[in-house]
């Protein structure tokens, strides 16, 4: 039945090689959620405003709702499912728990991954840098203060692990 233009996608998702024959128009979010069952990536605004669908491509944050799966050919994609290693939470995840930086949890995967992208390039951000970087990720539950605290704590925690 499928007569639409397709292509063969070769990529790496959460460290694992993935090959798939998919329609060219497939959005990354739908590839992750519907083809791979990685439903941790959430759709909300569907137009790159809210950040719920954030995943990292080669460490950089993108809105998976508005990029084609085609774009991750031969790249490394990190989704929320790939962050904890062997059941051990990543320090950012632990910081979100410690600071109550989540409530309903719907923005959380995007928020955690955006935080990782921030701390990767700026390990010790000040409050205004945190707010500026994360102002593109919407949360309707927490009022953001606990998320700000979680990012601060994650930054400290990662610094401690380094030393």
């Amino acid at each position: 039945m499928n007569t639409q233009p397709t292509f063969k996608l070769t990529t790496t998702i959460n460290g694992k090689p993935v090959d798939a024959e998919i329609e060219t128009r497939t959005l990354l979010i739908d590839f992750l959620r519907e083809h791979l069952g990685l439903t941790g990536t959430k759709r909300s605004c569907d137009m790159q405003v809210c950040g719920s669908c954030t995943v990292l491509v080669d460490g950089k944050p993108v809105s998976s709702c508005s990029i084609l799966a085609y774009e991750v050919s031969d790249r490394d994609v990190l989704t929320i499912e790939g962050l904890a290693q062997k059941g051990e939470l990543h320090p950012i995840q632990q910081s979100f728990l410690d600071e109550y930086g989540l409530q309903c949890g719907y923005c959380t995967p995007g928020m955690v991954l955006a935080t990782l992208a921030l701390l990767n390039e700026n390990p010790n951000p000040n409050d205004s840098e945190i707010k500026s970087f994360l102002s593109g990720n919407l949360c309707r539950c927490t009022g953001y203060f606990p998320i700000l605290n979680a990012v601060r704590r994650a930054s400290e925690r990662l610094a401690q692990e380094e030393s």
Binding site: R25, K60, V62, S66, L68, Y70, S132, G136
Partner: protein, 292 residues
């Protein structure tokens, strides 16, 4: 929901242009996709052929050109690459200020400066900045050749530019600012895109304003140059009074419409405020050591 399409991967601008010639209205240029895919998802546009210009090899870099007097930013360079470029930081730091506040980091990661300009969304940040940038030009390439187009010829109407159907923008040329020139970009943002934005470039010699370039964005279909305001400033001593007068002139030159971003009256007020602030900062920078 996206309609089906195929993606073409040209290796040269000429190949891209050939594909555009071949498919005509059924094809469009695809780079970051940040604007394009959203309108296609909304069903506002539909193309059976996307010409992915990211596969063209020599449009991915930022480098100095014209004997180091200008920057050439390749069409596939993303906002984020500009924002984090040491070359840009050294030679055109205003672009970094503009890029830092453009949309959000995800859009900047995927989206390209050239794509933003070609899309010609009326609330574009780069459009306003380029419109005011002294000597800025856009390089358009097709099978017919290469041409340079000035911003005020390029932006024709909302979502409409001077780019021909078979052309792709291959680069943005931005001359480095001469000594004694300062720049600033101020905007007021309430919704996702700016309500009003103002870019100003001012050069000062001694205590006299030698030139002023002011562009106002987001209030009309395309950014406009506030030429009356610019002319008023020539020969003046930098200061609050001439800036207020110029800001008033910039505001009267606007022809805004009332919409979600504000009423006509309020938009004029924002133009007034932002123009004054931008002129103030640009001239301070012109007179300071900072070449921004």
């Amino acid at each position: 929901m996206l309609k089906p399409f195929v993606i073409h991967e040209p290796r040269t601008p000429q190949q891209a242009s050939e594909l555009l010639n071949e498919y005509g209205w059924d094809a469009t240029v695809y780079a970051g996709g940040t604007e394009l895919l959203v309108v296609m998802k909304e069903g506002l546009a539909s193309y059976a052929h996307l010409i992915n210009i990211k596969t063209i090899s020599d449009i991915h870099t930022i480098h100095l050109t014209d004997n180091d007097a200008a920057l050439r930013i390749g069409a596939a360079v993303t906002h984020r690459a500009i924002e984090t470029s040491s070359m840009i930081a050294a030679h055109a730091p205003l672009l970094i200020e503009m890029e830092r506040s453009l949309a959000n980091v995800r859009v900047r990661t995927m989206g390209t400066l050239a794509g933003n300009l070609c899309f010609a969304e009326p609330h574009s940040d780069p459009a306003a900045v380029c419109m005011a940038w002294p000597g800025a030009s856009f390089e358009l390439t097709s099978t017919d050749g290469v041409r340079q187009v000035l911003p005020d010829e390029f932006f024709i109407d909302l979502f409409m530019t001077a780019r021909q159907e078979n052309e792709i923008m291959t680069a943005i040329h931005l001359p480095l600012l001469p000594p004694g020139m300062g720049s600033a970009y101020h905007k007021f943002v309430l919704l996702e895109r700016p309500s009003v934005s103002v870019a100003a470039f001012v050069s000062v010699a001694g205590t006299t304003i030698k030139s002023a370039h002011i562009a106002v964005g987001s209030v009309g279909p395309v950014p406009y140059r506030a030429t009356a305001a610019e002319n008023m400033l020539l020969g003046q001593t930098p200061g609050d009074e001439p800036y207020r007068a110029a800001a008033e002139a910039a505001a009267s030159a606007a022809d805004p419409v009332g919409d979600l971003y504000g009423s006509v009256e309020y938009k004029r007020q924002l133009i007034r405020v932002l123009t004054r602030q931008a002129l103030q900062q640009a001239s301070e920078r012109a007179m300071g050591v900072e070449r921004l």
